[in-house]
Amino acid sequence: MGPFLLKRLAGGLLTLLVIATLCFFIIRFAPGNPFSSERNLPPEVKRNLEREFNMDKPLWVQYQLRMKGYLSGDLGPSIKYYPKRVNELLLPSFGTSLQLGALGFGFAILLGVPIGILSAARQNRIPDYISSSLALVGICIPNFLLGPILVMVFSLSLRWLPVAGWPESFGGEELLKLLLPAITLGAVHVAYISRLTRAGMLDVLHKDFIRTARAKGLDERTVFLKHALKNGITPVLSYAGPMAAYIFTGSVVVEKIFNLPGMGQHFVDAALARDDAMVMGAVLIYSCLVIAFNVVVDVGYSWLDPRVRLT
């Protein structure tokens, strides 16, 4: 376990370095700069601004300064919201995005896995058909279409749920605000996860050890939930890694639809305003999340299937 985590930590840092370097040079080699959009900036002001953001120094020095900042945990100054730092802008919204992602993720797993188990248990019967039609809907209705439709139906027409916003306190009515965003974010993945669980379970149910379990008189419930599930769920776990990336990308859209104060909106605004420190900060935080998530998934994998060695 120890060596494995160290190795993954090193690999993760390397990936982050590649991403940071790539972003930095893409942004810097592009024509124009953040101040070119502002009309008639006096040359002295422009020079001062460039000095403030280290843009008057050679590219290589800028790169080193930026990387040194990252090593000490400083994401640099924001250009758009000067004099605020990227850290103080992104950290509060980071919590929102993380919670939103966790909600979408939890929704997808908690709904997808039971539907998958049910359709494996009742193969080619009603639950199976329901889950396969759900999967079709998931494939052809992307989250940016599902979100507005859910708002129209449940918030605006039926008036059951609040339209938008982030709960001010975590209790009672306020929590209802999280329902539609979580569904919007997780729905596509419910479809995939239920199909993967179904396939994985069906694959396992033909194995000898299941026959043994049944032969020794265990009831179906125990056979399914204790013996088959642990083996049948591994395909879901290998999907969970890429899913983390999709969920965090998707949360950008969901934050826009439901007007949530997450990192996504900051990221899009910053990209449009060419606020490079802000853009890089957001990309790096998202990447950290995805990398961390993949490590968790790998550990989970070896826990479910001890034959898989963590290397």
Binding site: T15, I26, L156
Partner: protein
Amino acid sequence: MTAAALEGRSPTQLALRRFGKNRRAMISFWLLIAVGLSTLLVPLVSPHGYTIQKLENRKQPPSGTYWMGTDFNGRDLMVRSFMGGRISFAVGLLATSVSLLIGVAYGACAGFLGGKTDALMMRFVDVLYGLPHMFLVIIVMTILGRNFLVVFMVLGCFSWMTMSRIVRGQVLSLKEKEFVEAARGLGVTTPAIISRHMLPNILGPVIVYATLTVPSVMLQEAFLSFLGLGISEPQTSWGLLISDGAGALNPLRIFWWLVVFPGSLLAITLFCLNSVGDGLRDAFDVQQK
């Protein structure tokens, strides 16, 4: 013995025959052609121009004159939806061609050269896989400007990795086959071996994966346009139209047609493309890696 009974069938013919028997795939195929033709024809025959604003006819629900209603600037939504469809289809097809070109060339090179070069080239693909590519696409888009050309080039350049892996795997195994050895023994040159003997054999998987790339690219384009980072006005696409519709959501009056019509067109198209892709995959029996 009759000659007809012995008529040979190529694997491609057999696959197409299997595809023809798949009902869902066939229906999707014809539906897709119908949507595609409508995007070409509707703007031609419609009495409304797609940029013509009639401010006295703003926000009208679907009616006899405006079958899909009008938007906030008094433009006919039907013409705009099908014009947007043109762009979405064009982006999907062009970006797929870009990814096809890069992916096939890269994969074939890696597979054919083999050894250290192959290992290095595939390692690079692994690194690209690990990057959060949607975020990089967004950065590149904002830098290069938001227009049609940039959208499909950038999306194409970021989606060739899986294709290159598939092609490489195929080339690696074909390289060792007897017919390639025979061709070499007969003195056929390397370019001729690749184009005459190998390409026809990898065509099946390549077509299948390309068909599945189209919906994924269209989805990405819609995603970008929804965020305001893809296609920009006065041009339009399904993602942009849905974004306009979503922006118009308010508690006082529901402009449902602004979301529902472009949204259904997008959903139908994605569904059909995925069904056709799945059908082709089953017909050609491609193992995806």
